[in-house]
Amino acid sequence: MSKNLSRVVKLSLFALVIVMALPLLVSAQTPDENTLIIGQSVDVGQLDPATINSRAEANIFFHVFGTLFEIADTGELRPYLANAYTISEDGKEWTFTLNEGLTCHDGEALTAEDVAYAFDRAANPDNGFTGNTSGFVLPSIGFQGTRVEDELNVTIITDRYQTPNLRLALISEVYIHCKDAYEAMTLEESAQNPIGSGPYRFVEWIPDDRIVLERVEGYTLREANFQTQIWRVIPEASTRVAELIAGNIDVAANVPFDQSEAVNASGVAEVQAVSGTRRIYVGFQFGENFADAPGYDALQKTEVRVALQYAVDVPTICQTLLGTSCERASSMVNPPNNNPNLQPYPYDPAMAEELLDAAGYPRGENGVRFETVLMGPRGRYLNDANVVQAIAQYLTDIGVQTTVDIRDWADYSQLVRPKEVGPMFFLGTGGGTWSALYDMADLSGPTAGTNYTNWNNSEWFELWDSLADIRDAEEERAVVNQMLEIFYNDPPWLLLYFQPDFYGVSNRLNWNARRDEWIVIYNATLK
């Protein structure tokens, strides 16, 4: 009935199709030989070097700013902006000597005064900084202040001695920036506009899209191979991997291991699996506020906690849910700093049942010994929700009827910090390869903020306090080994594994991923 109309309609449809098809003819762009593109899952929140709230921010800062010392990928501590240091008689004042001729990206000379400024600025409560530097590093070294000795020498004043590896590792997370540049900016400006001291200069940040960095020509402390670095934000893992396989990015962080095969088969990229330093464990809650929770009484008994160590098949969890073989942790300390005499608990459910029988928790008529709850986060650690469910299944299998309570990470972290998680909870905390003490600092006191289980083994804490007076490395080692044995025999944690990390790396690149979740990539080269 309406030839005219249908012609109009057809024409307009045709026109729309043409308009939509036109862009198909434009060619796609791929990374060139001067540009390196990295895909991460989260964006930075801000770019002030004194506030670090995430790994993503630290990755950018590492390339834009220099530090006094740096942690090498081997875990060894290397000089960087500084070339030497001396320790005062009482061990509290550390004086660093800077390299000559350093400059910041705005051209001003980088001297002792600037280093002092970077520390003082982060510590100044008026600036209201939150995050890693002011919230963790400076308190951990007992920061008191700075003193400029001369042009190249600066002293960091603290209230305690620390074993050098631990202190240098902490200090290598303080990013050095120049006084004149930062005094000229408001806090609002400095959060957008980093003026660095490292091998790459900040160019632009398009929030939730990309950060672009450009090589500083003539920078001598680092050999940077790519002229441009683009750090893209690609939150969805499948999208990140698709971009990698399509050849649009060079490195994809956090590749789901189930997609490794697809990546490797593409001929474009390979997946690198590294054994990370993050310690993953199930904590047993000792806090009184859980006294009425199911299973609390049973879990107070050392025998029960030891028995549960035998119940979980950690190697199988690693193989199936983490996509790699792993060695089970024998303590909270990352190898190679752990106690070599301690053998990881084997998977032996019969042994677990035997120990539980002996501890006074036989199976009831319904096959249940006791009931309890395992809390865990979702979306924070590798495959976390699935691992939590798998652990609950293993515990249920030996008669410890375990209910799972999984929360979104934002909610979960609000419960973990005030220690309102239990009777069992799943958690992972970052660790290091440079010092056993760094890993053990989680349990630096019965009420320490990071002692999430409220563990109160007096032997352990007495030995911890005694470490403050020990300066001899061997003596320190002996005490550490003794402490780790205490931890092993009266476990506040159900020991699991060190979290593996997966990076998808383009075949055009020579680059090795690090163990400690840092993406350090200035040294990458084309094949």
Binding site: E236, A237, S238, V241, A242, P256, D258, Q259, E261, A262, D313, T316, I317, T320, L321, R378, G379, A385, N386, Q389, A390, Q393, V404, D405, I406, R407, D408, A410, D411
Partner: protein, 305 residues
């Protein structure tokens, strides 16, 4: 801010005695609605008798047998006809249990939202004036408030779980019902039968819910049929964002969301089966909704949903 279109008068006069008979006739004439009903019967059966017909415990894991393919595909395990998921759980059993949750969430959320919205809408339309103003301002606040934020509020404050998910998805849609019920009530308010009831001394509640309500119900029933489908889809989207039901509870949306890391790896069965389940169910509900609309009131076609 009240949408004037809603107050376009939609006259109807559903003669109740013959409704069921006419429905039977109309259904037999049309083919698709019958197919839709058959699909929904199967889903409802699964939901009702899940524990009896499900071959396995849907949460029983077996890590060694994870990602086993379905049917006769190479590497398949005959114990798991539709294969296993990333934790080695039986997909068939999870689908059957998932029917229960998806239907429960869809239906209850719509019932909650529908009842709340309809009563408020009828009250607002009937009394008008200040009561109307207050209720409609609250509706405006809710409409202007991004739904996703509301969802997170309820799920975070009350904790995750099916009851809270149902509550938030229900609350999320009361406004639609309220607006339509209000418009319809306004158009009915001055009718003779209402006047008659009033003159016979019936109180307000009686007039509103015994006299007016039956006459404004048709468009609301139609909308609710479409909303059941959209709630099932919302549950899937929320699962994708990590805000759905806890991962221990099998739902179709949750299964589909979990499958996304496996698509590139070629483990298609993780996505295809829950995907088919969602699509068939939503499709069936939509077809049935279409039929219901044509049957109850063909004039509603253009009324904005």
């Amino acid at each position: 801010m009240v949408n004037p279109a809603i107050s376009i008068s939609l006259k109807q006069d559903v003669r109740r005695p013959s409704v069921w008979r006419r429905a039977r006739f109309s259904l037999i004439r049309a083919k698709w609605p019958l197919v839709a009903i058959a699909i929904l019967l199967v889903v409802t059966f699964c939901a009702a008798f899940g524990p009896l017909i499900s071959p396995k415990d849907p949460n029983r894991q077996n890590l060694v047998l994870r990602l086993a393919p379905p049917f006769q595909v190479e590497g398949a395990n005959p114990e798991f006809p539709l294969g296993t998921d990333g934790l080695g759980r039986d997909i068939l059993s999870r689908l059957i249990y998932g029917a229960r949750v998806s239907l429960l969430v869809g239906l209850t959320a719509v019932v909650i939202g529908g009842m709340l919205g309809t009563s408020l809408g009828v009250v607002a339309g009937y009394f008008g004036g200040r009561v109307d103003d207050i209720i409609m301002r609250i509706a405006d606040v809710q409409l202007a408030f991004p739904f996703i934020l509301l969802t997170i509020m309820v799920l975070v404050v009350l904790g995750p779980g099916i009851p809270n998910l149902v509550l938030v998805l229900g609350i999320g849609q009361w406004v639609t019902y309220a607006r339509i019920a209000r418009g319809q009530t306004i158009s009915q308010r001055e009718k003779e039968y209402v006047e008659a009831a009033r003159s016979m001394g019936a109180n307000h509640w009686r007039i509103m819910f015994r006299s007016i309500l039956p006459n404004v119900l048709a468009p609301l029933i139609i909308i609710s049929s479409f909303n059941v489908a959209s709630v099932i889809l919302s549950e899937a989207s929320l699962s994708f964002l990590g805000l759905g039901v806890p991962p221990t509870v099998p739902t179709w949306g949750g299964m589909l969301a979990e499958s996304r890391d496996q698509l590139l790896a070629g483990k298609w069965w993780l996505a295809v089966f829950p995907g088919i389940a969602i699509m068939m169910t939503v499709l069936a509900i939509n077809i049935l909704g279409d039929w219901l609309r044509d049957f109850l009131d063909p004039r509603l076609r253009g009324a904005g949903f």
